[in-house]
């Protein structure tokens, strides 16, 4: 890595190294998990980096508000740390894509779903909305505009709202991969490719479980992973043992083996999904080996996204009286 690259990220990495210490580690997660009530869990949360947010929240029981606030704070921090970099953008595209999905679906239903818009993306939700409404597509990033056009065409042809999701998910993957390549974030590219593989694996398992047919699978598969969609398609017809066999030469061997075993026992894909997320987390931990450069920053954001999700799983579980063991089953490994 060049010197300019190093010095570009040195300050940000310095701050991130300290902030990493404030991520919730296993012990804290464990305590949160073992809390007997929501109030007790909130108390545990108040001893962590979330104390401020919990104290300031108008309704501390509204965990979604707290987690949303926290993750927004992280994105802002990355923007502030690297004002000239598009690094934060990598993580923000998904919010724009979400808004596009909401607006398109609302448009075809002729209903108002504005409360679902999330104002966290690259383009303010209001802008996207007015652009779509007035059909001034060219004023948003070209990829979005192409994505919307493709999604509209697909929906009008098939009259099925899921194609909107599928087309825009593909737009998102392609766009993020492209940005990561342009920014020279090889580490993130690899993470992303693995993520696409794992999403495809999950889709394969889900379509198989639901028995929705090969066409449904074909629609759902994302390109851009290390395994081509054509690797997944033939596996739809094969049985689970063959599926495990097919993955035995990929890095996802363990994920598939254990995930499928758990599925055959319980009929649920929860374990597979969790293992897939944990696989990504293991990859993410490689960032600890990088002393300088963008990797620790990317890893921090993703670790935070993961942490926020774990907290949400725990708190919603606690609020609704889900057994601790059942919560634990769904928690993803944490970064630290």
């Amino acid at each position: 890595m060049s010197i300019s690259q190093d010095s570009r990220y040195a300050y940000a990495v310095g701050r991130i190294r300290v902030l990493e210490n404030k991520l919730l580690d296993k012990t804290k997660m464990q305590r949160l998990q073992n809390a007997k009530s929501v109030d007790e869990a909130l108390l545990v949360l108040s001893e962590t980096d979330y104390a401020d947010l919990v104290a300031k929240a108008p309704n501390p029981y509204d965990i979604d508000a707290i987690t949303t606030e926290e993750i927004k704070r992280v994105y802002l921090l990355i923007r502030e740390l690297l004002p000239k970099e598009a690094l934060a953008d990598l993580f923000l595209i998904k919010y724009d894509i979400h808004n596009l999905k909401v607006l398109l679906k609302a448009h075809y239903q002729k209903k108002d779903f504005d409360y679902l818009l999330v104002d966290a993306g690259l383009v303010p939700a209001e802008t996207i909305k007015s652009v779509l409404k007035n059909d001034q597509l060219p004023s948003i990033p070209k990829e979005y505009y192409e994505g919307v056009k493709a999604a509209k065409a697909a929906y009008e042809e098939r009259q099925d709202p899921k194609v909107i999701d599928e087309v825009l998910d593909r737009t998102q993957t392609a766009m993020v991969a492209d940005m990561a390549s342009k920014g020279g974030h090889e580490f993130y590219r690899r993470l992303l490719a693995a993520q696409v593989d794992l999403v495809n694996l999950k889709s394969l398992a889900r379509v198989k479980r639901l028995g929705r047919g090969r066409a449904f699978l074909d629609d759902s598969l994302l390109p851009g992973g290390t395994l081509a969609p054509s690797f997944f398609t033939p596996l739809y017809g094969s049985d689970w043992a063959q599926l495990v066999q097919a993955f035995s030469l990929t890095p996802y061997k363990a994920v598939v083996e254990q995930g499928v075993a758990a599925y055959l026992e319980s009929g649920q894909l929860t374990t597979l999904e969790k293992l897939a997320d944990n696989f990504q987390m293991t990859m993410l931990r490689e960032a600890k080996m990088f002393a300088l450069g963008p990797e620790p920053i990317i890893a921090y954001v993703m670790a935070k996204e993961n942490e926020v999700r774990n907290i949400r799983i725990i708190m919603i579980g606690k609020k609704n009286g889900v057994a601790t063991a059942e919560i634990a089953e769904r928690l993803r490994e944490s970064y630290v």
Binding site: I3, D6, S7, A10, Y11, A12, V13, G14, R15, I16, R17, V18, L19, E20, N21, L81, A291, L292, P296
Partner: protein, 163 residues
């Protein structure tokens, strides 16, 4: 006495050597200290209490510049520029002095940059595990070895040269 384009060639080479030692060592150090300093300011922003430990780590890549300056100074002293009574330097001696400056010039440049990187990495350790600060200090200090070897070689060579 050889003169190139009317310049006294021996003296010129000696001064070039001294200059190389000072500015390459200086470049190495400033890049190293720069990287380490940015990292340090990042850490201090979040955790001001670590300033003391980080200062030491940031200063480590600074030594190359000092070594370079030392060698440069030695050469200047040797050729008598400081006393206002410059010695007569033959072109052979000029080349010798020039070559004697190279070890610290290059080892200073490269080790300074890398020491800066290792220091920055060590700051990561200090930030994450304050209890391992001692170990963190050793890692960039290892890089120092090669700057010192360069310095040693340069000094030995300079003292060995007869004027």
């Amino acid at each position: 006495m050889v003169s190139w384009f009317g310049i006294e060639a021996g003296m010129g080479l000696a001064i070039l050597g001294a200059a190389l030692a000072v500015f390459l060592g200086g470049i190495g150090s400033s890049i190293g200290v720069g990287i380490a300093g940015q990292m340090a300011s990042g850490v201090v922003t979040e955790d001001p209490e670590k300033f003391g430990k980080l200062l030491l780590l940031q200063a480590l890549p600074g030594t190359q510049g000092i070594y370079g300056f030392l060698v440069g100074f030695w050469v200047i002293l040797k050729v008598g520029l400081l006393g206002g009574d410059p010695a007569t330097i033959t072109i052979d001696q000029g080349f010798q002095l020039f070559a004697a400056c190279l070890p610290i010039a290059f080892s200073g440049l490269i080790s300074g940059i890398w020491q800066g990187k290792v220091s920055a990495a060590a700051m990561g350790i200090v930030a994450k595990r304050p209890e391992a600060s001692g170990k963190a200090l050793i890692l960039p200090a290892m890089v120092e070895t090669y700057a010192i070897l360069g310095l040693l070689a340069s000094i030995l060579l300079i003292t060995g040269i007869r004027i």
